[in-house]
């Protein structure tokens, strides 16, 4: 009898253990998010510029003959300025550099901006920070699109429910910002 009772208890414990485990695989989890989001996400090719100067006579004299040039040019990928305003209030104003250790990759933007549910006016600007006197080199834009973008902007009004996401992204065929997702 004692052995039977032990077997019964053992079976019940094993069944209970398996069902507790099965319950733990599907704990209902409240994600706990009440905001809506304006999401900025795009990839644009960067702009390659060259800044050139004339070397002095001393500099030229110091160089081997075959390296003497009239102009010494240094090229680089320029950064872009990202400005975002929501309901007239600036929420982002920062410089975005090209990706990669040598900054020779495209420029990526990925931000989630929480907003309260409801109507919102969004303004997004994306402008090259070209140094004065720099010369654009068209043949050397980074991969990721058909040449560098000169500057992009979008103004839109969205209506968002809690947890909904409005996406501002770059359409490389239209070569402009577009708005996708909820509330558009």
């Amino acid at each position: 009898m004692k052995l039977r009772l032990r077997h019964l208890v053992g079976t019940l414990v094993a069944v209970a253990g398996v069902f507790i485990m099965a319950a733990l695989t599907r704990v209902p989890w409240d994600v706990g998010e009440t905001h809506a989001f304006v999401r900025l996400s795009w990839r644009t090719p960067g702009e390659f510029v060259e800044e050139c100067r004339r070397p002095s006579a001393e500099e030229l004299a110091a160089l081997p003959v075959h390296m003497r040039r009239e102009e010494i040019c240094e090229g680089r990928m320029i950064s872009y300025r990202l400005r975002v305003a929501i309901d007239g209030r600036a929420v982002i104003d920062e410089s975005v550099r090209a990706a990669g250790a040598r900054e020779d990759r495209p420029l990526y933007v990925y931000r989630d901006l929480p907003v309260s549910p409801g109507d919102h006016e969004i303004l997004v600007r994306w402008d090259p920070e070209r140094p004065a006197g720099a010369r654009r080199v068209d043949g050397r834009s980074t991969p990721g699109g058909r040449g560098a973008v000169d500057g992009l902007a979008i103004t839109a009004t969205v209506r968002l429910e809690p947890r909904e996401i409005a996406l501002v992204t770059y359409d490389r065929n239209l070569r402009r910002f577009i708005l996708r997702g909820a509330g558009t």
Binding site: V15, A22, E33, I165, L167
Partner: protein, 520 residues
């Protein structure tokens, strides 16, 4: 820091022993699932393989959610097989964690066992990653949360040319390549698990990869029962333009989500790095101080008869037989100290008593029992308990237990049978050897070999002249003192009245003589 790690382990080890004791009470030591926590993982991996192959027939990377929904709702048995697949993966996580915890608390994670510890940790990590890919394949709201959080954490790695998170922003359809890659990883990672498992048991002789058949089938039956009675459902489809309000949460594979949501990605990596570092440091932190570290076994090559029994019995492949260089024909045992965990099982297996850890060879044990008899003078009414200090209900720590004299031994598997004979011939009423359960010996096969030497004439056997009625073997884990008490009571009741007469015992006669000793 080391002493802190050891100090905190003790009470936890006591708790584990009590839990194991309770489970042994319910299922018996042979079927105690905690004793088989490691081999159970193999069974669960086989279940995952079988159910995974079935699911693979119906899964489509072009329509991940729809095909999973079809598996759940339309395919014959799909819902149950999918549930079984999930429950088996969760049970595997539980089994791995219990196994690791047990090894840690029992101090079986340093020295030659460090490789098993580290490979086990990597195995758990790979298994969790494999589970992550499996959940993402479903592409429901749970997958969405896991994918987004996982990508956010991965994006800080400097190896990715483009942020992975942008895959899930909704710029376009999710590429098939994403699901293909997930499916590929979900299938390929188990192969890595196989490799890690091979590494994990690589230093063991006769690795025990499967638990007793009844334990395996009971587990599979229980999981199948749960899968039929309470199958998993499919959550709403992921929507990249809407975060879910609620999502099902698998505690075993998504435990990191709450941490990832409050920490920046770099913080998550710091936590992951800290956990990985702690896991790597466990072998160092749990290693006893140099002066208390047990020394590896040594062989007295002069007296070794080359019988090979120690090499056969060593559970860690630490002993090999090599050619002698002194002109004698037989082989000689050689211990690889980098593999030896100092269990002492070789001491129990060596009839001429020439191998074993220093101070624990058969000869040392005989010298010890001689002192014990001189000090404690066991009489015909006395029972001597030879108690394993790792288990045996903790009785190895006492001088007397329920009026029985206690002689502690580090591992009952290392006990030389001549010690038992000596005690019986010295006049003790009976000798009760209490080892850890055979299914849970800390040195893997100690209890098994002990029983074979005492009662089944395995080499270095208890001599036929010893009255077996006066010898008893009891298995008891650290938390099973009541088992020892019951065993002692039974033994006392069964003991015959007359004992061997007292008298001088020829110590040397108790051991098989090595050739050099026999020679004039």
């Amino acid at each position: 820091m080391r002493s802190m790690a050891r100090g905190k382990r003790k009470p936890l080890a006591g708790t584990l022993a009590r839990v194991e004791g309770l489970l042994t009470g319910l299922y018996g030591s042979r079927y105690n699932p905690v004793h088989h926590s490691g081999p159970l993982v193999s069974v669960l991996l086989l279940v995952l393989l079988a159910t995974g192959l079935y699911l693979l027939l119906f899964y489509r990377i072009g329509t991940p959610y729809e095909s999973t929904a079809a598996i759940t709702n339309q395919v014959w048995g799909g819902r149950w097989i999918r549930s079984l697949h999930r429950f088996a993966s969760d049970a595997a996580v539980v089994a791995i964690v219990v196994h690791a915890l047990k090894m840690f608390l029992q101090g079986r994670s340093w020295g030659p066992r460090a490789l098993a510890w580290v490979s086990g940790g990597v195995l758990l990590f790979v298994f969790l990653v494999c589970g992550w890919t499996g959940y993402v394949l479903v592409w429901d709201v749970q997958a969405q949360v896991l994918a987004i959080e996982g990508a956010r954490v991965l994006d800080v790695m400097p190896i990715l040319s483009e942020p992975l998170s942008r895959t899930f922003v909704g710029e376009g359809e999710l590429p098939r390549a994403f699901f293909f890659m997930n499916l590929f990883l979900h299938v390929a990672l188990p192969m890595a698990l196989g490799l890690l498992l091979w590494l994990h048991v690589g230093r063991l002789s006769r690795p025990k990869l499967m638990p007793p058949r009844s334990v395996s089938w009971s587990l599979v039956g229980l999981l199948t029962f749960a899968a039929i009675v309470w199958p998993v459902t499919i959550a709403p489809e992921a929507d990249l333009f809407r975060l879910p309000e609620r999502a099902p949460y698998d505690f075993f594979f998504s435990f990191w989500i709450p941490i990832a949501r409050v920490l920046p990605p770099a913080g998550v990596w710091i936590v992951v790095g800290a956990v990985a570092l702690a896991m790597l440091l466990v072998p160092l932190l749990t290693r006893p101080p140099r002066d208390r570290r047990p020394l590896p076994a040594v062989v007295d090559e002069r007296l070794c008869t080359g019988c090979e029994q120690c090499a056969r019995d060593c559970p860690y492949e630490a002993i090999t037989m090599i050619e002698r260089t002194d002109g004698r024909a037989a082989l000689v045992a050689r211990v690889d100290s980098s593999l030896c965990v100092s269990c002492g099982i070789c001491a129990g297996s060596c009839a001429p008593m020439v191998v074993g850890p220093p101070d624990r060879t058969g000869r040392d044990q005989l010298a010890g029992v001689k002192r014990f008899v001189a000090d404690r003078q066991p009489g015909p009414r006395d029972v001597v308990i030879i108690g394993c200090t790792s288990g045996a209900g903790g009785v190895g720590a006492f001088e007397r237990f329920n009026d029985a004299l206690v002689m502690p031994i580090r591992c009952a598997g290392s006990l030389h049978t001549s010690v038992v004979e000596y005690l019986v011939r010295a006049g003790a009423g009976g000798v009760m050897v209490v080892s850890c359960p055979a299914a849970d010996c800390r040195n893997r096969e100690g209890a098994q070999w002990l029983e074979a030497r005492l009662f089944h004439e395995r080499e270095a056997e208890l001599q036929a002249r010893v009255d077996r009625r006066r010898v008893r073997w009891v298995e008891a884990g650290a938390g099973e003192r009541s088992t020892v008490m019951r065993g002692l009571k039974d033994f006392r009741q069964s003991l015959p009245g007359a004992a061997y007469p007292d008298g001088e015992i020829d110590l040397l006669a108790l051991c098989e003589r090595a050739p050099d000793e026999v020679a004039p």
